[in-house]
């Protein structure tokens, strides 16, 4: 056996060993999992198979329906170019989807996983490590793509009566394009890591990813609010069909796979094989190029991150900011004990510096802006429905909408508290020993965590309240009543979330996005959601009652204040008091 083939055998053998190791780890975690987890895993897999079968059936049925000449005649659209563009559309989406999603996963797998020291110290070819990491990272993306793409492509084949060779080649093309895309994505990762520290890239990526996905998820609501009619017009459908068809241009390499499969499926063997061979060759070349470059770049990039000092010099604050900060410090010194001040200051510093956590804090702001826009665009008028509602109901509804500003403020405040309050103590993670070994009173810890969640939630809630109130032009008394309502309701909700979240505090987490405060925290979230309408009702209910019975409004305000403030104070204080005794035992698992 000559030297190159021996090296290649050695590499594939190493890849096989590394993949087998990963499989063994997954199998062991399944074997040692709790029975309930095993049950849900098996149920999930069965559900997935059923889902795939359903998509296949739906694709087969729908594509068969779209091919019917009666439909073309009835709708007046030639649907055939659209159907022919489907494989191209799927392969293009899959290629770019895998390219984008693999970036973060590959960054983690290639540079930030814990086993890198072990693997690079072992006599394993670096190329084998790269391939095994790439396969592990790309498998989930490929799986998701396959779940949706395969049934559609197979459905297209069955409904079009394509030749049998079409089906294995669909799988081959998917695998090849996925590997090429992941290879290029890995190249991009390696390029970026040569310039920026891998951990920082991961943080920025997490932040951008979270914000983008959140904006994308809400774009539907915004576009619905923007457009006057919810029904898609025939012109829009035509435009969409044209767009998809226009993607299917012959000179784009990504289209060769889809066109080749169609040609082959429809019996045009020569052109089909030619296009598929071209795609295959190009994809293999891209993957090979990534492999060869990886061999040169990967080790140097990985070795580089071991010595990058990742220095983050904290820049001095401008004098105007320093003055404000010292003013706040002087005021807080008078009212807050030093440990509480220290904890609050530290938590704010960490929250603003850790981008992974910052993304969770920006979410309520974006949601708030979006829903405020929708709320204000609808003119603060109740939906007319079918006009069957009695007048008194519509009047009451209109009166309640005056407090839509409060509702919106509570909504954003609730979202922010959800991120900050329930996980307040859990956020300490493995650093909790420092607090536990110090002479910190549980009451001080709870007070600090309360403030860390409450101050930003109240500031954000009031920000929206002021903004919407100005746009609505509501009366001054309603505005001040709203300020108080928001302050008290958020305090009550904060107490519930923090109290129950602290009772179930869990310090065993690695990624701050994955921390949770267990079952108790979950119960806290449910109770907080129940508390919100209750406290809102106690504040607003008396106003509604006095308007129905035509009594002086001042009675309504007084009753609302007494009831609302009482329940809020009880909910803000009682859960914390109840959990105070448990704080000393936290972190003793």
């Amino acid at each position: 056996m000559n030297a190159p083939s021996q090296a290649s055998t050695q590499m594939f053998s190493a890849v096989w060993k590394l993949l087998r190791l990963r499989w063994q780890i997954n199998l062991n975690s399944f074997k040692h999992a709790k029975k309930s987890r095993k049950f849900w895993t098996i149920l999930g897999l069965v559900g997935l198979l059923v889902f795939v079968g359903f998509i296949f059936w739906l694709s087969f049925w729908l594509l068969g329906f779209l091919r019917s000449p009666e439909l073309t005649k009835y709708v007046g659209l030639d649907i055939l170019p659209f159907l022919q563009a489907i494989p191209t559309l799927i392969f293009t989406l899959m290629f770019f989807g895998v390219f984008l999603t693999s970036f973060g996963v590959l960054l983690q797998a290639l540079y930030l996983s814990n086993d890198m020291d072990f693997l690079l110290a072992a006599p394993v070819p670096i190329r084998a490590v790269f391939i095994s990491k790439l396969l592990q990272a790309v498998l989930p993306s490929f799986g998701i793509a396959a779940i949706f793409a395969l049934p559609i492509l197979f459905g297209l084949g069955v409904s079009g009566g394509y030749s049998l060779l079409y089906y294995p080649l669909v799988i081959l093309m998917m695998v090849t394009l996925t590997l090429a895309s992941a290879g290029l994505s890995a190249l991009l990762v390696m390029t970026v890591v040569r310039i920026f520290p891998a951990r920082r890239v991961a943080e920025v990526l997490g932040f951008v990813g979270a914000i983008t996905s959140m904006i994308c998820s809400q774009s539907g609501n915004l576009s619905r609010s923007w457009s006057d009619s919810g029904e898609p017009s025939s012109a829009q459908l035509n435009g969409l069909t044209n767009l998809v068809t226009q993607l299917n241009v012959p000179w784009m390499p990504l289209n060769w796979a889809g066109r080749g499969l169609l040609e082959l499926g429809e019996g045009r063997w020569l052109s089909g094989f030619l296009l598929l061979s071209l795609t295959f060759g190009l994809a293999v070349a891209a993957f090979w190029f990534a492999l060869v470059t990886a061999e040169r770049w990967y080790y140097s990039g990985w070795a580089g991150i071991q010595v990058v000092t990742n220095k983050k010099k904290t820049s001095p604050l401008p004098s105007s900011v320093t003055n404000k900060v010292s003013l706040i410090a002087t005021v807080s010194e008078r009212f807050l004990p030093a440990p509480v001040r220290g904890l609050v200051k530290r938590d704010f510093l960490i929250l603003t510096r850790d981008l992974r956590q910052a993304s969770q804090l920006v979410t309520p702001l974006i949601f708030g802006l979006l829903y405020s826009f929708i709320f204000l665009r609808n003119g603060s008028e109740p939906p007319a429905g079918r006009g069957e509602a009695p007048d008194w109901f519509m009047e009451s509804f209109r009166a309640l909408l005056v407090y839509g500003n409060v509702g919106m403020s509570l909504f954003v405040g609730w979202m922010l508290l959800g991120h900050l309050s329930g996980t307040g103590i859990t956020r300490e993670g493995k650093n909790y020993w420092l607090l536990k070994a110090s002479p910190l009173r549980p009451a001080h810890l709870l007070a600090a965590k309360f403030l860390v969640a409450y101050i930003p939630a109240l500031a954000l809630g009031w920000f929206f309240l002021v903004g919407i109130s100005i746009m609505q032009g509501i009366s001054l008394i309603s505005f001040f009543y709203g300020l108080l309502m928001v302050a008290m309701c958020l305090a009550g909700m904060n107490g519930i979330l923090l109290g129950l979240g602290s009772a179930g505090a869990n310090f065993a987490w690695e990624d701050s996005r994955k921390m949770n405060s267990g079952k108790m925290g979950c119960l806290g979230s449910i109770l907080a959601v129940l508390f919100l309408p209750l406290s809102f009702g106690l504040f607003v209910g008396p106003l509604w009652i006095v308007s129905v019975f035509q009594l002086p409004i001042i009675y309504g305000y007084l009753a609302g204040l007494i009831l609302g403030i009482s329940i809020s104070i009880i909910c803000a204080w009682l859960p914390l008091k109840m959990v105070e005794g448990r704080i000393a035992k936290l972190g003793e698992a």
Partner: protein, 257 residues
Amino acid sequence: MPETSPLIETVDLVKKYGDKLAVDNVSIEVYGGEIFGFLGPNGAGKTTTIKMIVGLLQPSSGMVKVAGYDVQAQPLLAKASSGYVPDTPNLYAKLTGRELLGFVADLYDLDRKQVVRRIDELLRMFDLTEADDDTIDSYSHGMQQKASLAAALMHDPKVLVLDEPTVGLDPKSARLIKDILRQIADRGAAIMLSTHILEIAERMCDRIGIINKGQLVAVGTMEELRKLDQTSEASLEDIFLGLTGGAEMAEIAEILK
């Protein structure tokens, strides 16, 4: 000379995890001015005992006193008197070294006028001045270990408890820490440290306790431990292996040579 009343005192300390007895009736006394080495094989109960002393774990039974305060009954007073350096320096990654020490000063409610001076002093002492405004996630393991020790010394504790303080340190830093611990002990503080490096224990510690399978099997000065071994020339390694059942392993290793 050591003080007459112990600054660390455990009486019949027991810790159970379910059916497993991790610490079994351990009674230790550490006096002001002395460095007490706590040795034992992996899983012997060293870290569990230490965690009970600093108030990170509640004992199943028995009593712990630190600086005369019962850790269970007067936890805040006991903790205010002690400093702790864990085996793994988990520190707030997104704080700078200076901010960490400032935060610790707040936790211990130190006099604000003294804090800046004390932080500068500690940063200089541990050679961290140049990295004082870098976030801790950019520190090497050794720097984090030193930052952790600086945090433990921030309030000038009467009792210092260290779990494997020299792991991962370069010889220069290890020497620095040994010198600092000696100085602190000479000023009257009680120091208890666990270590696997017997040479450190032999050279640094005034008294040594050896724990095996949760039980304290020997306590005393090197001379007192040698008497237990009945050989005046025995090294700490020989005594340790003899007491913890590792002597057979040493013999096997000798044969394999």
